[in-house]
C-alpha cells in the first residue's frame, strides 16, 4: 500500500482558473519522490492540498489508504504527527521571538506528545548536526543553512513518516545546499520525503522517483534515472536541456 496516493485531483482558486488538472501519483514508503515544475506549474498547490490547507474540487488524496479529511480533527491529529513540512525560506519560517527549544518543541506541544521534551529536542538537534548549545539560542544567531537545520529539526522531532519539503534548499548557497541535501538523504533512511523543487540536479541527488508537472498537469513520471536517461515528453526534454552544466 502506498504511503500517499493522489487520485485524479483537480483544483482551482476560482471557477475559471484550473491550477491542477487530473493529477495522480503515488508516494511509496521509503521511496523519495521529487515533484518538479516551474513557477505556476501547481507544485505548491499540491503541497497545500497534502497539508490539508485546501481541498481539491474533485479527486481524492489518501494517506495509508485512508481518505484525507481536513475537517476531521481526530484524523488530522494523527495525520499531522505523520506528515510534517519544511519550507523554502529559513528566515520567515522560524518565529524570531522564540528560542530554538521552543521552536523545535512546537509539534510536540501541538500533538500533545508526552514529555519530558528536552531529550527528544536534543536528539532532533543532534540528528540535523546542530551543536548542543543551539537549544537556548534565537534564530537570528544562526546562518541561513543552520536555520534550515532548525526547521528540519522541527519537522523530524515527532518522528513523522513523511516530510513535505517545498524548495527546501533553493534559498541556500551552493556549499550549504549540498550539505542540507546530504542531511535530507541521511534522514530519509528513517522517513520518506516528497521534495518539491524546480532544481533537477537537487531532485536527482535525493529522489528515486520523479514527477514532472507542467501547467497543472503531470507530463511524465517514473524512476528518476529512467526519466533523465530518456525523457519522453518534450517539456521534460526542454527542462533537462535548460539546466546549465559545468564545462566538460
Amino acid at each position: 500500500m502506498s504511503l500517499v496516493s493522489v487520485e485524479s485531483i483537480s483544483f482551482g482558486y476560482s471557477r475559471d482558473e484550473q491550477v491542477l488538472r487530473d493529477v495522480s501519483f503515488q508516494v511509496r514508503r521509503g521511496v523519495n519522490v521529487g515533484l518538479v515544475g516551474e513557477s505556476g506549474s501547481g507544485k505548491s498547490t499540491i503541497l497545500k492540498l497534502l497539508l490539508g490547507l485546501a481541498r481539491p474540487n474533485s479527486g481524492t488524496i489518501r494517506f495509508e489508504g485512508e481518505v484525507l479529511k481536513p475537517g476531521d480533527r481526530a484524523f488530522m491529529r494523527g495525520y499531522r504527527r505523520a506528515v510534517q513540512a519544511v519550507f523554502q525560506d529559513p528566515y520567515s519560517s522560524l518565529d524570531p521571538r522564540q528560542r530554538v527549544d521552543a521552536i523545535v518543541a512546537e509539534p510536540l506541544r501541538a500533538l500533545k506528545i508526552a514529555g519530558p521534551h528536552r531529550p527528544i529536542i536534543e536528539a532532533a538537534l543532534r540528528d540535523v548536526g546542530l551543536p548542543s548549545d543551539a537549544i537556548s539560542r534565537y534564530p537570528h544567531e544562526f546562518s541561513g543553512g543552520q536555520r534550515q537545520r532548525i526547521a528540519i529539526a522541527r519537522a523530524i522531532v515527532a518522528r513523522p513518516q513523511l516530510i513535505l519539503a517545498d524548495e527546501a534548499v533553493s534559498a541556500l548557497d551552493l556549499s550549504t545546499r549540498i550539505r542540507i541535501v546530504e542531511l535530507l538523504g541521511t534522514l530519509s533512511k528513517a522517513m520518506t520525503i516528497l521534495f518539491v523543487s524546480h532544481d533537477l540536479g537537487v531532485v536527482a541527488s535525493l529522489c528515486e522517483e520523479i514527477v514532472i508537472l507542467e501547467k497543472g498537469r503531470i507530463v511524465e513520471s517514473g524512476r528518476t534515472s529512467a526519466v533523465l536517461a530518456q525523457p519522453k515528453h518534450p517539456y521534460t526534454q526542454k527542462l533537462l536541456a535548460s539546466v546549465p552544466r559545468m564545462p566538460a
Binding site: S39, P244, M246
Partner: protein, 268 residues
C-alpha cells in the same frame, strides 16, 4: 586600457570590512564572471564600480570606469558616466521596474537621456520607433501589447527582457548583470543567458556577470573571479579555474556543482 580597473578596493561599514583590498579589471569587450556566495561582497563590488554604494559604506582604493575615478567622485560627475560607461541589470525585475509606469515609457527614459547626452534631438515618433526596436532586440513577443502594459501584466522573464532593453538603450561599454537569472525559471534562464550572450557580442560590450551559480557563469563568461567573504581568492579563465581550481574554497564550490551535475547523468 581597461574599461573597468579596480585597484585595492576596500569597503567598510561600522568598522567591519566587507570587501578587502580587491583588484580586478575588465578590458573592452571582455566577459568576467564574479562568483561568490551570499555576503561575499559581490554585489557591493558592482555598486562600487558605478558609484552607487549605500551612504553608510566607506570605500577606499581606486575604481577607474572608462578612465574616470569613481571613488570619492561627486554625484554630478558620476551621472554622465552611468549609462554611457556602464549600465546594470539587477536580479529582481519586478522591483527594478517602476510599477506605475507603462513599459514603453520606462524604456523611453534611458533612451531620451542618451540622446540628450549625445546632444541629439529625437521626436516622439522617433522615440516610439526606437523603443519598439529595442523591445524587438530582446526578443519580446507581441510588442504592441507590451509597450502599453504595466510590469505586473507581463511575466518575470519578459520583465527581465525589458530591464535588458533599458540597459541597451544606454549603449553602455560595460554591461553589469547582477544575478540576472536567479529569480527566473530554469527554461527562462536558459533563454535569457543566450540573449545576453548574443547582445553582448553584437554590441561589442564588456560584461561583468555576478552570480553564485557556477554553471550559469560558465555559460556567459570567459574569465572568472571567485570572491569569499570580501576577498578575491582566485581568478583566471573559466575553463582552467573550473577544471583545476587552485584555492580550497573554489575546489569545494566546483565539487558541489559537479556533484549536482553528476546526479543528472543517467549513466552514473
Amino acid at each position: 586600457m581597461s574599461l573597468l580597473a579596480i585597484e585595492g578596493l576596500t569597503l567598510t561599514t561600522g568598522g567591519r570590512e566587507l570587501v578587502s583590498n580587491l583588484s580586478l579589471s575588465i578590458a573592452p569587450g571582455a566577459r568576467l564572471g564574479l562568483i561568490g556566495e551570499s555576503g561575499s561582497g559581490k554585489s557591493l563590488t558592482a555598486l562600487a564600480a558605478i558609484g552607487l554604494l549605500p551612504p553608510d559604506i566607506h570605500a577606499e582604493g581606486s575604481v577607474l570606469l572608462d578612465g574616470r575615478q569613481v571613488i570619492g567622485a561627486r554625484e554630478n560627475d558620476l551621472i554622465p558616466i552611468r549609462g554611457a560607461a556602464a549600465a546594470t541589470v539587477f536580479q529582481e525585475p519586478l522591483t527594478a521596474l517602476d510599477p506605475l509606469m507603462k513599459i514603453g515609457r520606462q524604456v523611453a527614459e534611458p533612451l531620451i537621456r542618451r540622446y540628450r547626452r549625445e546632444g541629439r534631438d529625437i521626436d516622439r515618433r522617433g522615440i516610439a520607433r526606437e523603443v519598439r526596436d529595442l523591445l524587438e532586440r530582446v526578443s519580446l513577443p507581441d510588442i504592441e501589447r507590451i509597450v502599453n502594459a504595466y510590469p505586473y501584466e507581463i511575466s518575470g522573464g519578459q520583465r527581465q527582457r525589458v530591464a535588458i532593453a533599458m540597459a541597451l538603450a544606454c549603449r553602455p561599454k560595460l554591461l553589469i548583470a547582477d544575478e540576472p537569472t536567479t529569480a527566473l525559471d530554469v527554461t527562462t534562464q536558459a533563454e535569457i543567458l543566450e540573449l545576453l550572450s548574443k547582445l553582448v557580442d553584437e554590441n561589442g560590450m564588456a560584461l561583468l556577470f555576478i552570480s553564485h551559480d557556477l554553471p550559469v557563469v560558465a555559460r556567459v563568461a570567459e574569465e572568472v573571479a571567485v570572491l569569499r567573504q570580501g576577498e578575491l581568492v582566485e581568478q583566471g579563465p573559466v575553463k582552467s579555474v573550473f577544471r583545476a581550481p587552485a584555492h580550497d574554497y573554489t575546489r569545494m564550490l566546483v565539487a558541489a556543482a559537479a556533484a549536482f551535475d553528476r546526479a543528472l547523468e543517467p549513466a552514473q
